[in-house]
Amino acid sequence: MTQAAPATAAAMPTPRRTLITGVAFALAAAMAYGSSQVITRQIIGNMAPPLVGTLISLFWGTLGFALLSARNLGDRGDHFGRGALFFAAGGLFSAMGVLLMFYALGLGQVVVISPVLATNPLFTLLFASIFLRGVERITPRVVLGALLVVAGVVVLSAF
Protein backbone atom coordinates (compact mmCIF):
# COMPACT_ATOMS: atom_id res chain seq x y z
CA MET A 1 0.00 0.00 0.00
CA THR A 2 1.11 3.62 -0.32
CA GLN A 3 3.43 6.01 1.45
CA ALA A 4 2.45 9.50 2.62
CA ALA A 5 2.03 11.96 -0.26
CA PRO A 6 4.71 14.65 -0.25
CA ALA A 7 3.48 18.06 0.93
CA THR A 8 4.16 19.62 -2.43
CA ALA A 9 2.41 16.97 -4.51
CA ALA A 10 -0.86 18.87 -4.72
CA ALA A 11 0.89 21.92 -6.14
CA MET A 12 2.45 19.99 -9.03
CA PRO A 13 0.63 19.09 -12.26
CA THR A 14 -1.08 15.71 -12.13
CA PRO A 15 0.77 13.25 -14.37
CA ARG A 16 -1.48 11.20 -16.63
CA ARG A 17 -0.83 7.97 -14.78
CA THR A 18 -1.65 9.54 -11.42
CA LEU A 19 -4.88 10.88 -12.92
CA ILE A 20 -5.88 7.49 -14.34
CA THR A 21 -5.13 5.56 -11.14
CA GLY A 22 -6.81 8.26 -9.05
CA VAL A 23 -9.99 8.07 -11.14
CA ALA A 24 -9.84 4.25 -10.99
CA PHE A 25 -9.54 4.29 -7.18
CA ALA A 26 -12.38 6.83 -6.86
CA LEU A 27 -14.70 4.78 -9.08
CA ALA A 28 -13.71 1.56 -7.24
CA ALA A 29 -14.61 3.26 -3.95
CA ALA A 30 -17.92 4.48 -5.40
CA MET A 31 -18.64 0.94 -6.64
CA ALA A 32 -17.88 -0.55 -3.20
CA TYR A 33 -20.15 2.00 -1.53
CA GLY A 34 -22.87 1.43 -4.16
CA SER A 35 -22.73 -2.36 -3.69
CA SER A 36 -23.08 -2.02 0.06
CA GLN A 37 -26.09 0.25 -0.44
CA VAL A 38 -27.80 -2.45 -2.51
CA ILE A 39 -27.01 -5.17 0.04
CA THR A 40 -28.24 -2.97 2.87
CA ARG A 41 -31.51 -2.19 1.05
CA GLN A 42 -32.23 -5.66 -0.32
CA ILE A 43 -30.88 -8.12 2.24
CA ILE A 44 -30.39 -6.51 5.61
CA GLY A 45 -33.89 -5.02 5.92
CA ASN A 46 -34.72 -4.59 9.59
CA MET A 47 -32.12 -6.94 11.11
CA ALA A 48 -30.82 -4.23 13.46
CA PRO A 49 -31.15 -0.49 14.06
CA PRO A 50 -28.88 1.48 11.69
CA LEU A 51 -26.50 2.60 14.44
CA VAL A 52 -26.01 -0.99 15.62
CA GLY A 53 -25.52 -2.13 12.03
CA THR A 54 -22.91 0.58 11.55
CA LEU A 55 -21.02 -0.58 14.66
CA ILE A 56 -20.93 -4.22 13.51
CA SER A 57 -19.87 -3.19 9.98
CA LEU A 58 -17.19 -0.86 11.35
CA PHE A 59 -15.89 -3.57 13.68
CA TRP A 60 -15.45 -6.13 10.89
CA GLY A 61 -14.18 -3.50 8.47
CA THR A 62 -11.56 -2.22 10.93
CA LEU A 63 -10.48 -5.74 11.87
CA GLY A 64 -10.27 -6.80 8.23
CA PHE A 65 -8.32 -3.72 7.24
CA ALA A 66 -5.91 -4.07 10.18
CA LEU A 67 -5.16 -7.67 9.15
CA LEU A 68 -4.76 -6.81 5.46
CA SER A 69 -2.51 -3.81 6.01
CA ALA A 70 -0.52 -4.97 9.07
CA ARG A 71 2.72 -5.24 7.10
CA ASN A 72 2.39 -1.71 5.71
CA LEU A 73 1.94 0.12 8.98
CA GLY A 74 5.59 0.24 10.05
CA ASP A 75 6.70 3.48 8.36
CA ARG A 76 5.48 6.33 10.59
CA GLY A 77 7.06 9.29 8.84
CA ASP A 78 8.30 12.55 10.39
CA HIS A 79 4.96 14.06 11.35
CA PHE A 80 3.05 11.04 12.63
CA GLY A 81 1.36 12.89 15.50
CA ARG A 82 0.00 15.68 13.30
CA GLY A 83 -1.20 13.28 10.62
CA ALA A 84 -2.78 10.98 13.22
CA LEU A 85 -4.66 13.93 14.69
CA PHE A 86 -6.06 14.91 11.29
CA PHE A 87 -7.15 11.36 10.47
CA ALA A 88 -8.66 10.75 13.91
CA ALA A 89 -10.59 14.03 13.66
CA GLY A 90 -11.69 13.02 10.17
CA GLY A 91 -12.97 9.72 11.54
CA LEU A 92 -14.85 11.52 14.32
CA PHE A 93 -16.54 13.89 11.86
CA SER A 94 -17.42 10.95 9.64
CA ALA A 95 -19.00 9.09 12.58
CA MET A 96 -20.84 12.24 13.63
CA GLY A 97 -22.22 12.54 10.10
CA VAL A 98 -23.55 8.98 10.28
CA LEU A 99 -25.16 9.66 13.66
CA LEU A 100 -26.81 12.89 12.47
CA MET A 101 -28.01 11.08 9.35
CA PHE A 102 -29.73 8.39 11.44
CA TYR A 103 -31.46 10.98 13.61
CA ALA A 104 -32.50 12.97 10.53
CA LEU A 105 -33.93 9.83 8.89
CA GLY A 106 -35.71 9.00 12.14
CA LEU A 107 -37.42 12.38 12.26
CA GLY A 108 -38.08 13.08 8.57
CA GLN A 109 -39.09 11.32 5.37
CA VAL A 110 -36.40 9.55 3.35
CA VAL A 111 -37.56 11.31 0.19
CA VAL A 112 -36.80 14.68 1.82
CA ILE A 113 -33.68 13.75 3.80
CA SER A 114 -31.77 11.75 1.16
CA PRO A 115 -31.47 14.65 -1.31
CA VAL A 116 -30.21 16.92 1.48
CA LEU A 117 -27.60 14.31 2.47
CA ALA A 118 -26.55 14.05 -1.18
CA THR A 119 -25.33 17.66 -1.09
CA ASN A 120 -22.28 16.68 1.00
CA PRO A 121 -19.80 17.10 -1.92
CA LEU A 122 -20.76 20.78 -2.05
CA PHE A 123 -19.82 21.16 1.62
CA THR A 124 -16.55 19.35 0.90
CA LEU A 125 -15.70 21.83 -1.85
CA LEU A 126 -16.74 24.79 0.33
CA PHE A 127 -14.55 23.64 3.23
CA ALA A 128 -11.72 22.74 0.85
CA SER A 129 -11.75 26.25 -0.60
CA ILE A 130 -11.47 27.65 2.94
CA PHE A 131 -9.21 25.18 4.76
CA LEU A 132 -7.10 23.81 1.91
CA ARG A 133 -6.08 27.17 0.49
CA GLY A 134 -2.52 26.80 -0.74
CA VAL A 135 -2.85 23.00 -0.83
CA GLU A 136 -5.50 22.63 -3.51
CA ARG A 137 -7.21 24.80 -6.08
CA ILE A 138 -10.96 24.36 -6.44
CA THR A 139 -11.68 25.37 -10.03
CA PRO A 140 -15.08 26.45 -11.41
CA ARG A 141 -15.08 23.32 -13.57
CA VAL A 142 -14.69 21.04 -10.53
CA VAL A 143 -17.58 22.89 -8.86
CA LEU A 144 -19.68 22.43 -12.02
CA GLY A 145 -18.87 18.71 -12.06
CA ALA A 146 -19.87 18.38 -8.39
CA LEU A 147 -23.12 20.29 -8.99
CA LEU A 148 -24.05 17.98 -11.88
CA VAL A 149 -23.28 14.83 -9.85
CA VAL A 150 -25.20 16.14 -6.82
CA ALA A 151 -28.16 17.04 -9.05
CA GLY A 152 -28.11 13.52 -10.50
CA VAL A 153 -27.94 11.89 -7.07
CA VAL A 154 -30.76 14.13 -5.82
CA VAL A 155 -32.92 13.05 -8.79
CA LEU A 156 -32.08 9.36 -8.14
CA SER A 157 -32.81 9.58 -4.41
CA ALA A 158 -35.96 11.72 -4.73
CA PHE A 159 -37.72 9.55 -7.35
Binding site: A7, A30, Y33, W60, V112, L126, E136, T139, A146, A158
Partner: protein, 141 residues
Protein backbone atom coordinates in the same frame (compact mmCIF):
# COMPACT_ATOMS: atom_id res chain seq x y z
CA UNK B 1 -37.46 21.31 9.94
CA UNK B 2 -35.20 19.78 12.63
CA UNK B 3 -34.70 16.71 10.43
CA UNK B 4 -33.46 18.89 7.57
CA UNK B 5 -31.10 20.79 9.88
CA UNK B 6 -29.70 17.46 11.13
CA UNK B 7 -29.28 16.23 7.54
CA UNK B 8 -27.41 19.43 6.64
CA UNK B 9 -25.24 18.82 9.73
CA UNK B 10 -24.50 15.30 8.49
CA UNK B 11 -23.57 16.52 5.00
CA UNK B 12 -21.35 19.26 6.50
CA UNK B 13 -19.67 16.72 8.84
CA UNK B 14 -18.75 14.48 5.91
CA UNK B 15 -17.43 17.51 4.04
CA UNK B 16 -15.23 18.49 6.99
CA UNK B 17 -14.06 14.89 7.37
CA UNK B 18 -12.79 14.84 3.79
CA UNK B 19 -10.85 18.07 4.28
CA UNK B 20 -9.23 16.83 7.50
CA UNK B 21 -8.24 13.57 5.81
CA UNK B 22 -6.71 15.51 2.92
CA UNK B 23 -4.52 17.35 5.43
CA UNK B 24 -3.62 14.06 7.13
CA UNK B 25 -2.58 12.49 3.82
CA UNK B 26 0.35 14.92 3.67
CA UNK B 27 1.87 13.32 6.79
CA UNK B 28 0.77 9.67 6.89
CA UNK B 29 0.46 6.74 4.53
CA UNK B 30 -3.01 5.91 3.23
CA UNK B 31 -2.96 2.57 5.11
CA UNK B 32 -2.13 4.08 8.47
CA UNK B 33 -4.57 6.94 7.95
CA UNK B 34 -7.41 4.60 6.97
CA UNK B 35 -6.80 2.47 10.07
CA UNK B 36 -6.72 5.53 12.37
CA UNK B 37 -9.91 6.98 10.91
CA UNK B 38 -11.69 3.60 11.15
CA UNK B 39 -10.55 3.13 14.75
CA UNK B 40 -11.70 6.58 15.89
CA UNK B 41 -15.07 6.06 14.19
CA UNK B 42 -15.39 2.61 15.78
CA UNK B 43 -14.70 3.95 19.28
CA UNK B 44 -17.26 6.76 18.94
CA UNK B 45 -19.92 4.44 17.51
CA UNK B 46 -19.26 1.81 20.20
CA UNK B 47 -19.72 4.40 22.95
CA UNK B 48 -22.99 5.58 21.38
CA UNK B 49 -24.35 2.05 20.98
CA UNK B 50 -23.33 1.14 24.54
CA UNK B 51 -25.15 4.21 25.83
CA UNK B 52 -28.24 4.12 23.61
CA UNK B 53 -28.84 0.70 22.01
CA UNK B 54 -26.98 -2.03 23.88
CA UNK B 55 -30.07 -4.29 24.00
CA UNK B 56 -30.47 -4.06 20.24
CA UNK B 57 -26.80 -4.98 19.74
CA UNK B 58 -27.13 -8.09 21.91
CA UNK B 59 -30.25 -9.15 20.00
CA UNK B 60 -28.58 -9.25 16.54
CA UNK B 61 -28.56 -12.76 14.99
CA UNK B 62 -25.41 -14.52 13.73
CA UNK B 63 -26.74 -14.14 10.18
CA UNK B 64 -27.09 -10.41 10.78
CA UNK B 65 -23.54 -10.21 12.12
CA UNK B 66 -22.24 -12.00 9.00
CA UNK B 67 -24.19 -9.77 6.59
CA UNK B 68 -23.15 -6.58 8.34
CA UNK B 69 -19.61 -7.95 8.20
CA UNK B 70 -19.89 -8.22 4.41
CA UNK B 71 -21.06 -4.61 4.26
CA UNK B 72 -18.20 -3.63 6.55
CA UNK B 73 -15.65 -5.25 4.24
CA UNK B 74 -17.15 -3.48 1.19
CA UNK B 75 -17.41 -0.13 2.90
CA UNK B 76 -14.17 0.09 4.84
CA UNK B 77 -11.17 -1.93 3.63
CA UNK B 78 -12.39 -1.37 0.05
CA UNK B 79 -14.51 1.79 0.00
CA UNK B 80 -12.67 3.99 2.45
CA UNK B 81 -9.15 2.86 1.50
CA UNK B 82 -9.78 3.42 -2.22
CA UNK B 83 -11.45 6.72 -1.31
CA UNK B 84 -8.30 7.94 0.45
CA UNK B 85 -6.06 6.59 -2.33
CA UNK B 86 -8.10 8.64 -4.82
CA UNK B 87 -7.95 11.69 -2.58
CA UNK B 88 -4.16 11.43 -2.32
CA UNK B 89 -3.82 11.29 -6.12
CA UNK B 90 -6.54 13.69 -7.29
CA UNK B 91 -7.05 15.94 -4.28
CA UNK B 92 -10.35 16.56 -2.54
CA UNK B 93 -11.77 18.74 -5.30
CA UNK B 94 -11.61 16.21 -8.09
CA UNK B 95 -12.14 13.03 -6.08
CA UNK B 96 -15.27 14.27 -4.29
CA UNK B 97 -17.65 14.31 -7.28
CA UNK B 98 -16.36 10.90 -8.41
CA UNK B 99 -16.95 9.38 -4.98
CA UNK B 100 -20.40 10.95 -4.80
CA UNK B 101 -21.43 8.90 -7.83
CA UNK B 102 -21.92 5.74 -5.71
CA UNK B 103 -25.74 5.78 -6.17
CA UNK B 104 -25.10 5.37 -9.90
CA UNK B 105 -23.39 2.04 -9.19
CA UNK B 106 -26.16 1.07 -6.79
CA UNK B 107 -28.68 1.62 -9.59
CA UNK B 108 -26.56 -0.33 -12.10
CA UNK B 109 -26.22 -3.29 -9.71
CA UNK B 110 -29.94 -3.20 -8.90
CA UNK B 111 -30.83 -3.20 -12.62
CA UNK B 112 -28.33 -5.94 -13.57
CA UNK B 113 -28.78 -8.33 -10.65
CA UNK B 114 -32.10 -7.58 -8.98
CA UNK B 115 -34.20 -6.79 -12.05
CA UNK B 116 -35.15 -3.22 -11.14
CA UNK B 117 -36.25 -1.06 -14.08
CA UNK B 118 -34.86 2.25 -15.25
CA UNK B 119 -37.52 4.98 -15.17
CA UNK B 120 -37.37 8.35 -16.90
CA UNK B 121 -36.29 10.01 -13.63
CA UNK B 122 -33.60 7.35 -13.05
CA UNK B 123 -32.33 7.87 -16.60
CA UNK B 124 -32.19 11.64 -16.07
CA UNK B 125 -30.29 11.15 -12.79
CA UNK B 126 -27.79 8.81 -14.46
CA UNK B 127 -27.26 11.27 -17.33
CA UNK B 128 -26.60 14.12 -14.88
CA UNK B 129 -24.12 12.03 -12.88
CA UNK B 130 -22.26 10.84 -15.99
CA UNK B 131 -21.97 14.40 -17.31
CA UNK B 132 -20.70 15.52 -13.89
CA UNK B 133 -18.08 12.75 -13.94
CA UNK B 134 -17.00 13.73 -17.46
CA UNK B 135 -16.69 17.41 -16.51
CA UNK B 136 -14.67 16.52 -13.39
CA UNK B 137 -12.34 13.99 -14.99
CA UNK B 138 -11.49 16.28 -17.92
CA UNK B 139 -11.07 19.38 -15.72
CA UNK B 140 -7.52 20.79 -15.98
CA UNK B 141 -5.53 20.66 -12.73
Amino acid sequence: MLAIVLAIGAAASWGMSAVLVRHGLRDLSTSMGTLLSLTSGLVVTAVLVAALQLDALLAVSWRGIALFGLIGILNFPMGRFFNYMAMGRLGVGRSTPLLASSPLFAVMIAVLFIGEHITLATGAGIALILSGLLVTITAPK
